[in-house]
Each structure stands twice: as C-alpha cells, then as structure tokens.
C-alpha cells in the first residue's frame, strides 16, 4: 500500500527559516487546530504539490500554493517576505521501498516543474547518502516518458494506467491526477460533488467512470484494452494489405499493366478468388487486353515471323514499306519523349520552388515559436503588452506592429503557428505529389526510350537488309524474333510473380477473418459477471456507510443504485445529489470514497489505500456521525492510511478524537501557525575523537551536527556511520567489523565516551560500494 510517511516544508524568509516537519505513522493522522487559518490546508496542499497533483487544487505549479509559500509568512502580526520554499515528502509503496520527493516553489534557478526523487528516507537524505534523480512534471510526456515523474510514480505505486478514449479521438493514458480526484478530497471544491476536483481540460471521456473502473479493478477496463489491441492489429493488417497491393500495382505499372478484381483493402476472400483477379495490359494508347491474350498474340507474331522467308530477296518490298512506317513511328516517339522531358523539367521546377517555400515556412514556424517562448519567459509574463493591453491606457490592443487602428482580427501566435503548420503540411503534400508525378514521367520516358531503341535497331537491320545480297539471311526477321522473345520472357516472369503475390493475400485474408471473428465474439455487454459482483458490492458498502453516517434524505435505501452508465450512485435513475440535503451530500462523499477503498481491497483492486480528507466536517455535520466516520475507518480490516485536516472548534470534536484508541491515530495539533520558525533547530559540537584499534585509525577534530527531528542517539549513530567508511581502507573481504571508541560531547557540552560496534558489507564487485552498514552504540 501507498503511504505518506513524513512531510517537511522549509520556507526561507527574510527573517530566517520557517518550516513544518511531521510524521504520519498511524492509521488516522489528524492535522488539527482549534481555529481556522492555522495552515492545515497549506500542509495538505503541500502533499498534493509534492506528488505533482496540484491540478486537483486547480492549476499548475506554485501559483496553486497558498501565499505562505510564495509571498509572505505572517508571524506575530508581522508579514515576513518569503524567499523560497522547499517541500520534502517521504513516501512508501507496498514493497516497502521508501523514496523522498523534493520540489521547490519560487526558488531562483529552479524550475518548479522539476521534481527530485531521492531513493531513501529523509534521515538518509539529511546526511546526503542517497542517490537522486531529477524528473519533470506538467510537460508533454511527463506521464509517458521515462524521465517523467508521473511515469515514475505510476510504477512506484505498482500501477499500470490504461489508455482511455478522449474527445480528441486519440487514446490517452488515464492520468494520475484524474485517478487521485477520487482519493484526495480537497477542502474548497472537493465537497461540492463526487470527483469534483477532476481536471477537465484533459478531455478524457467519462473520467468518473474510468476512475471507478480503475480503482476497483473492473474487467471492463481490460475489455477496453482488448478493444484497443484489436484496433491496433486492424491497423497493422490494413497497412500490410495496402503495402502488398501497391507492390503488385507498381511492378505491373512498369510493364504498362493493370490489375483488376483484387480489393485494395482487407476483405475476406473466397476460396477461388484468384480466378477472378485479372491482369490487363494497355495496348497502343488506351485499349486494354488481358495479359495472357497479349502474350498469346506475341507468340502468334513469332509464329508469323517463323513462317516468313528468312532470305532478304523474298520480302524486299515488305521491308521497304516497313522501313517507311517504322521511321514515322520513330519520329512520333521522339516527339513524345521530347514532350515528356519538357513536362519533367516543369515538375522539377515546381518541386524546387515548393522546397524553397517550405524552407521559408519552416523558418517562420521557428521564429514564431521563439516569439511564443519570449512571451512566456518568466520576466516578461507580467507585461501588459503580453496581455494585449496598452501599457499607457490599458485599452485592448492587438498583438501586431501594424497601425493599431486597422480593424482586422489578427491571429494569436498559437493560431499563427497552427496556420503555418497547416501550410507546411499542404506544401509537403504538394511536394510529395509532384515527386510522384516525376517518377511516373521518368518511368514513361524510360519505357519510351527502350521502345525507341528497339525500333531504331530494327530500322537499322532493315537498312542493312535492303542494301545487302538477296541471298543473305534477313537480319530484321531475326532481330524482331529476338526482341519478341525477350518481351515474352519478361512478361511471363512478372505474371508468375504476381500470381504468387496474389496467392499470398489468402494468408492476410485469413488473419482478417480471425480478427473479425474475435471482434464478433467480444461481449456486447460492457460488464462481465465478475464486474456485476463488484458493482453490487460497491453499492452494498456505500449504502451501509450511508446508514452509519446518518444519511437521511432518502429513507428507502433500496432505491439507491450504482448506475451502469457513470458508475455513480443514483436514486430512481437520477443523480443522488438532487435528492440530498447539503449535509447528506457530504455524508455521501464520505461513504462513496470509503466504499471505493473497501471494494478495491475486497477484490484486490488498485486503490492505494491512502485517503486524504480536508475538513470533512462541512455543513455542520452532527458530531456523532463524524464519530461513526472515524470508527468506520478504524474498523477496516485491511491496512490503510487516512490523513484528515480538521478544525476542532468545539469540545465535542475534541472528545471524539481523544476517544479514539491511541494506537489508531496521531494528532498533529497546530497551536501556532503550521509554518512556524524552526526553533528546535540547534547546532552543537558532537564529537571530538574517534579511535579504532582495528584499523589503527584515529580521527580527530570537532564535528558539528544540527539537531532537528532526531534524538541525540540517532545523531551519534549517523556520525559514526558517516565517519567509519571514510577511514576504512584496504578492504580485502566483502565485509568488515570492529569496535571503535568515541570521545563525544553531549548536548550540554560535557565530555563522555562510548563504544560503537560496526559491521559493514561491501559490494562483491566494487569494494567502494557499501551495500549494508550496521552500527550498534554501547553506552556505559
């Protein structure tokens, strides 16, 4: 389970250090005061802030914090300016790993969206013996990237947050700050409604429902995930299919062929679909004949040639006629090649000018982004001209250096960037299509030139034939035959390849069929039987809690249901809030928030077993109900932690708390302001000398320590721990032990001596790394 162990706040002010440092080690931890405005909420908000969940308070970064951390501390009727604030939160997960999260506010040269994670508890941190890592928040990727703090926190909590649909049509991760809206109840807005502090700008559809699903671990979320998987495999299949299809089309295009009857997107193909697929060849200009027929015709031509006399003298007349027509064809072809080349030059020119425009647009985008950054620089953020106000007359101005009296509407920089991005996309698209044209034209030119070459060589052969001896073998006939045979071979091969590719579509089609079958099998019902059991249990716990807390707006509790649509409590189909009195609404929030944790524990869901309630005594709740609320929390059989901010205005409230079993609660009573001067911080000389016979070592000199939260004994222990490993050298084995004598000073400055037994284990690979250190102090 997740636990908040300790919170330390230090506020550096013009009048020294102020702070707060408390442990939360019991089941219920009260941060209490007799009066208001003592700083309870400030402390609770600091927990939110450390976890990067300040959006639940309504905003990002330090501006959401109370002025005591940003502007001024009030102390003894004096306002003291705040210089910087530091927050440390020690948290622990179910594997008992402990980390300390550190975040700053208003600290010079420190971005408050930076979080430092120390991999150890706060005591270790004080002595600087823990490894740390910087992570960031509130920027793109903080929930999904490895350096993002929320990604880290998610893993620390042992969660795997699902991807959920959003209003943008893209699936996004269910953000941590959304889940915690059902776990941390904030004071100002938290008591208005269930999940009232949900940040809405994240555009997640039905966020309340997603929270409940995730916290209690409903199958419907897994189903949602399966649905996602199907979607991805559908995409993959589609793109695979199109790729194979385009492959065939492109190969065929090179020999002026087209394919018909093959679907270009995934379909279930029947057994003999390949019979229906046909390849046609474009003949002459636009006449199309089946490829097989064309090949047959070529074969027939060869036969014709074979039948012909091969001697020149026998067909001299034919030869002359053929030469004439051939020359005509050649000049036609030459003209065609010339035209195509012109087209090519034009297309290439277009591409070049488009690339130039694209460069300009890219530069514009870059400069616009710079401008946006300039606007957001810390030191310019407050300028009036950055809020589109005239610095002189505070009238509205438009953000342009054109004359201000032009009455056009101007784009904002963001809009401008989007506008340019759209232009960029258009340019890129145009470039792509021109490039496609170029490759098409080049293919045609290639083909034409090949044809031209063929014609020329035949013409050359005819010429040779005409001027040679009549008895000679006709070169023309042989050449023609040869070129026909080459063409037939080529087409045969391509046809064979294509047939093979077409048969490969069967496999894709099978995969497609399986996918569709899987999708069909998918339950129409959103909730599985298991889910129903959990939802019913949620209802039971909820109504039981309501009864305990004295909820009376609805007498017949059997009308209360958990709605399937939102997974929120309804009565007779309506939101329960409408039928509840103001104080009963508060009771409902208690009941539901606790019920979520109870169900989650019953069915091993994802609840972190930590709850925060800030001022649950809203709307003058009757003290007895409050008592039952605490009793319910104490009675839970599972391990959990609850942090409650409470004002103990009257004797009754005080009594309720003091009536609780001492082992169950810790009362952090703020008699003064929560953020108060750190009076108990005290420096004193601790140690004079350390003698270690084991290593002939002798460390001399006075060591100072600052006592804050720790007992003197702890301080001595830390000191020994720190020193021992500095003087131990020449380690040969994996562990070393010994006893040293320490000459120390107590808090009053009197000398005394004590022994310390130590045992240090080193890493087996690197003897400089200490894996374990144990110190026992022996006082006389």
């Amino acid at each position: 389970m997740f636990r908040v162990n300790r919170l330390r706040i230090t506020v550096n002010t013009a009048a020294g250090e102020f702070g707060f440092d408390e442990k939360f080690d019991k089941r219920i931890n009260f941060i209490a005061s007799y009066e208001n405005t003592k700083g309870k909420s400030s402390c609770i908000e600091a927990i939110y802030y450390c976890l990067g969940l300040e959006e639940l308070i309504g905003g990002k970064k330090e501006k959401t914090l109370k002025p005591v951390f940003r502007k001024s501390v009030e102390y003894q009727q004096e306002e003291i300016a705040v210089l910087e604030s530091n927050f440390y939160l020690e948290i622990q997960n179910k594997n008992l790993e402990i980390i300390t999260v550190y975040r700053t506010a208003n600290k010079q040269n420190f971005d408050s969206s930076l979080v430092t994670v120390f991999f150890g508890d706060m005591n270790k941190l004080d002595r600087g013996i823990v490894r740390s890592e910087d992570m960031y928040l509130h920027s793109k990727g903080s929930a999904t990237s490895n350096k993002g703090f929320h990604m880290y926190l998610e893993r620390f909590l042992g969660w795997e947050l699902p991807e959920v649909p959003t209003y943008d049509g893209i699936d996004r991760k269910l953000y941590l700050q959304i889940v915690f809206a059902g776990i941390f109840i904030e004071q100002k807005r938290g008591w208005a409604d269930l999940f009232a502090t949900l940040p809405t700008y994240l555009k997640i559809k039905e966020p309340q429902k997603r929270i409940v699903e995730f916290i209690i671990g409903l199958d419907s979320l897994t189903n949602e995930k399966l649905r996602q998987d199907h979607k991805t495999s559908e995409m993959e299949l589609k793109s695979g299919w199109t790729k194979s299809y385009n492959n065939i089309v492109n190969t065929l295009k090179k020999v002026r062929c087209k394919i018909y009857g093959l679907p270009n997107s995934p379909t279930i193909l029947d057994e003999n679909y390949h019979d229906k697929v046909s390849i046609f060849r474009t003949h002459n200009s636009d006449e199309e004949v089946p490829l097989s027929e064309y090949i047959l015709e070529l074969n027939k031509n060869i036969e014709n040639i074979n039948r012909k006399e091969v001697k020149v003298g026998d067909n001299i007349e034919d030869l002359q006629e053929e030469l004439l027509s051939l020359n005509e064809k050649i000049s036609d072809l030459q003209k065609e090649v010339y035209d195509k080349n012109n087209e090519l030059v034009y297309e290439k020119g277009s591409v070049q000018s488009l690339i130039h425009s694209l460069e300009i647009i890219n530069k514009d985008i870059l400069n616009n982004k710079d401008t946006l950054k300039l606007k957001k620089l810390g030191s310019s953020e407050e300028w009036l001209i950055n809020k589109n106000l005239c610095p002189t007359c505070h009238q509205k101005i438009h953000d342009s250096l054109l004359p201000q009296d032009i009455h056009y509407e101007f784009m904002s920089i963001d809009e401008n960037i989007n506008h340019l991005d759209a232009q960029k996309k258009m340019m890129e698209f145009a470039i792509k299509s021109h490039k496609l044209n170029i490759s098409n034209i080049e293919d045609t030119i290639n083909w034409l030139e090949k044809k031209l070459m063929n014609f020329r060589s035949i013409a050359h052969s005819i010429n040779n034939d005409i001027y040679c001896n009549d008895e000679n073998l006709s070169e023309t006939v042989i050449r023609k035959k040869l070129s026909l045979e080459i063409e037939i071979d080529l087409l045969d091969e391509i046809e064979k390849d294509c047939k093979k590719d077409i048969i490969a579509f069967k496999e894709l089609s099978n995969q497609w069929r399986d996918l569709i079958a899987k999708k069909k099998k998918f339950p129409d019902e959103e909730f599985t039987a298991n889910d129903r059991v959990m939802i019913k249990k949620l209802r039971d716990y909820f109504t039981l809690n309501l009864q305990d807390f004295g909820y009376s707006s609805i007498v017949d509790k059997s009308t209360i249901q958990i709605s399937d649509i939102k997974l929120l409590p309804t009565t007779e189909g309506f939101d329960m809030k409408f039928d509840s009195s103001a104080s009963d609404n508060i009771r409902a929030i208690w009941a539901y928030t606790l019920a979520l944790m109870q169900v989650s524990n019953k069915f091993s869901g994802n609840h972190p077993n930590l709850l925060i309630f800030d001022e649950p005594d809203q709307q003058s709740i009757i003290a007895n109900d409050m008592k039952n609320f605490f009793q319910t929390i104490v009675s839970f059989e599972f391990d959990c932690q609850v942090i409650i901010g409470i004002t103990m205005k009257d004797e009754e409230t005080r009594k309720i708390i003091s009536d609780l079993d001492e082992d169950d609660y810790r009362l952090i009573l703020l008699e003064d302001k929560a953020i108060h001067p750190r009076k108990n911080a005290k420096r004193w000389d601790v140690m004079k000398k350390i003698n270690d016979p084991n290593d002939d070592a002798e460390v001399q000199g006075i060591l100072q320590a600052e006592i804050y939260e720790n007992t003197p004994e702890e301080i001595y222990r830390f000191m020994v721990e720190d020193i021992v490993d500095t003087y131990i050298e020449n380690v040969t084995s994996n562990s070393i032990q010994g006893t040293c004598t320490i000459e120390a000073l107590d808090e009053e400055g009197d000398d005394f001596t004590f022994d310390a037994r130590y045992e240090i284990e080193f890493d087996s690979e690197d003897e400089n790394v200490i894996t374990n250190i144990e110190i026992n102090l022996i006082f006389d």
Partner: protein
C-alpha cells in the same frame, strides 16, 4: 459581378489574418534589446542605429551590405530604411518601461529591460542567427559613423 440565378446569396466569414513573426510586438522589442546588448556595449543607442541594424537583420543581402559598409572606412553610403513597425515597437517598449529615452534622445534599457535581456541572452535556443549576426557587427557601427552619414543627406537632398 455576374451571379448565376440559382445562387440565393453569398456569405462571408471574417477570419483572423496571420501576422508575420517580425511584426509581433514582443519579437521586435526583443530584437531591439539584442541590438543594444550586442552593438552598443550595453549603453544607449540612437533611433537610426536601431533602424539600420534591424533592417540588416531582415535578410541576408541587407546584412552583407551593412557589413561591407562597415568594413570600408571611405565607402560612406548605405540606404537607411525607416520602418514604422520599429517606431511602434519602441513606443510600446517605452510605455511598458523596458526602454528609457535619455535627454540626448538616445535609448537605454531600464532595470526591467536588463532583466529580460539576461533571460534572452542566456537562452541558447533563442535568436541563434540574430545573435551570430549581431556579434559580427559588434560595435563597428558607431554613432559618429551614423552622424557622418546623416550629415551627407543634407548635401544630397537639399
């Protein structure tokens, strides 16, 4: 205008128009601040100098012309363009208390302006080309040189 009979009416939607980045107030002001930082030893700067340098930053050609002019002591003429957008930017900067106009008419940065300047200069991703070009110009364009240029106008145009 010819409108076919079957067209009942034409409606127009007023859409916002795009503004080039160098016509954004903050961009220009930042540019002026950089000019003062790189080309004036962080001291005061005349209006003409801002105009000349800002024109040079607009295209590569203009920049080359200015650099040529600066390299040759005796070649003493360049065209000075006065861009009203820069004047407006200066007005805004004065009103926002980023620039201060001294008694001698030169402009210098206020404390607020200096703080902002530090931010832009420190950021390595901002104004990469501008910073390079401006440091090429450096302090070569002196106020004396500009006054000399202005004194020529009298001779040529009166």
């Amino acid at each position: 205008m010819f409108i076919p009979d079957n067209v009942e009416g034409i409606s127009f939607t007023n859409r916002p128009i795009a503004v080039p980045y160098n016509y954004r107030i903050i961009y220009r002001i930042s540019q002026i601040i950089l000019i003062i930082y790189y080309c004036c030893n962080r001291k005061a700067c005349s209006l003409e100098k801002i105009h000349i340098t800002s024109t040079a930053l607009s295209t590569k050609d203009e920049m080359e012309k200015l650099l040529q002019f600066l390299d040759k002591e005796n070649e003493s003429y360049i065209l000075v363009r006065f861009n009203p957008a820069i004047n407006r930017a200066i007005d805004f900067a004065l009103a926002e208390d980023i620039l201060i106009r001294q008694k001698n008419g030169l402009f210098k940065l206020s404390t607020k302006g200096k703080k902002y300047m530090d931010n832009i200069v420190k950021d390595k991703d901002l104004f990469i080309f501008e910073k390079l070009n401006l440091s090429n110009i450096g302090t070569k364009l002196t106020e004396d040189r500009i006054n000399q240029l202005i004194s020529l106008w009298r001779g040529s145009y009166v």
